[in-house]
Amino acid sequence: MAVDPQPPASVARISPQDEAALVARAVAGDRAAFGLLVERYAGVARRVARAVLGDPDDADDAAQDGLLSALVKLEQYDSRRPFGPWLLRIVANAATDRRRRRKVRRAEPLDPALVAGGPRPDTTAERRELSEQLRQALAELPERRRIAVVLFDVEGYAHAEIAHILGIPEGTVRSEVFHARRRLRVLLADWKEEER
C-alpha cells in the first residue's frame, strides 16, 4: 500500500490580493465571499483543531467556533499580512480554549512496543490502523508540537508563518517540528519496513 504524497497545500492557496479582496467583501456583508473563505480554509482548520483536540466532533465544533469568531473579527484583519496564519491562530486558540473548558478524554497511551517498532498489525485495514496509531502518537505530543508539525508537513506553512500562528519564535517552531517528526517517523518507518 503506497502513500501518495499530496502537493503542498500552499499550491492550492489563493493569492494574498485575492484573499484581501474576499475579506473586504465579507466585511461588507457578502455572504458568498465569506463562504469562499470558509471553503478554502475548512480543511486546514479542521485538521489543526483535530491535532489539538483529538476527538473529531470536538474538533469540528472548535473549527466552527474559530471560523465564526474570525468572521466577527474580520474588520481587525490587517490585509497587508497573509490571511491564513491570522485565521489559523484564531482557530488554534478556539481549539485550545475548548480543550481547557472541556475535559476531553485523553487518548489511551501508545503501546511502547508499537513506538519501539513492535509487530505491525496484520489487519486488512492497515491504512486505518496507521492513521489511528498516528493520532495516538500525536496525542502524546505537547500541543504546540502537534500543531507545528501539522502546519509544517501537512499544510505546508513556513516556519515564520507558524511562528506567527503560535506566537512563538521561529527557532522554537523548528525545534518543535524536529522533535515531533522524530517521534512520528518511528511509527512511519516501521510501517514502511513492513510494506517491503
Binding site: V3, R46, D60, E132, F178
Partner: protein, 113 residues
C-alpha cells in the same frame, strides 16, 4: 529504514505529511462548510432584531434627550432673563445705582420699623 531527519530541516516531509493528513482528515467537507455558513446566518439573524431594537431605543432616547434639553434650556433662560425680583432693602438704599430708590421698598422698610 527512513533517513533520520536533519535537525531543523526546512523542507516538508511529503510522506509524513500525507499520512498525517489522512489521519486527521474527517471528510464531509461540504457538509461542514454548509454547517458553518448556516451558523453564520443564524448569528446574523439573531443579531439583526437586537440591532433593530437598540436602534429604536437609540432613536427614542435621542428624541427624549432633545425634548429635555430644550425644556431645560427654556427654563434656565427664563430664570436668567426674567424679572430680577424685588430688590432688597439694603440694595435699594445702599446701592441705588442711577435710579431713585423704589418707593414701595423704602416704605416697607419704614413700616417694618
Amino acid at each position: 529504514m527512513m533517513n533520520q531527519p536533519m535537525p531543523f530541516d526546512h523542507r516538508r516531509d511529503p510522506v509524513l505529511g500525507a499520512v498525517l493528513r489522512q489521519a486527521l482528515d474527517r471528510g464531509e467537507e461540504a457538509a461542514f462548510v454548509a454547517r458553518v455558513l448556516a451558523r453564520a446566518d443564524e448569528a446574523r439573524a439573531t443579531a439583526a432584531p437586537w440591532a433593530a431594537v437598540l436602534a429604536r431605543w437609540a432613536r427614542t432616547g435621542i428624541a427624549a434627550a432633545i425634548v429635555i434639553a430644550l425644556a431645560a434650556g427654556y427654563l434656565v433662560g427664563r430664570i436668567a432673563t426674567g424679572p430680577a425680583g424685588r430688590a432688597s432693602v439694603t440694595e435699594a438704599l445702599i446701592a441705588p445705582r442711577t435710579q431713585a430708590p423704589v418707593v414701595d421698598v423704602v416704605l416697607a422698610s419704614v413700616l417694618e420699623r
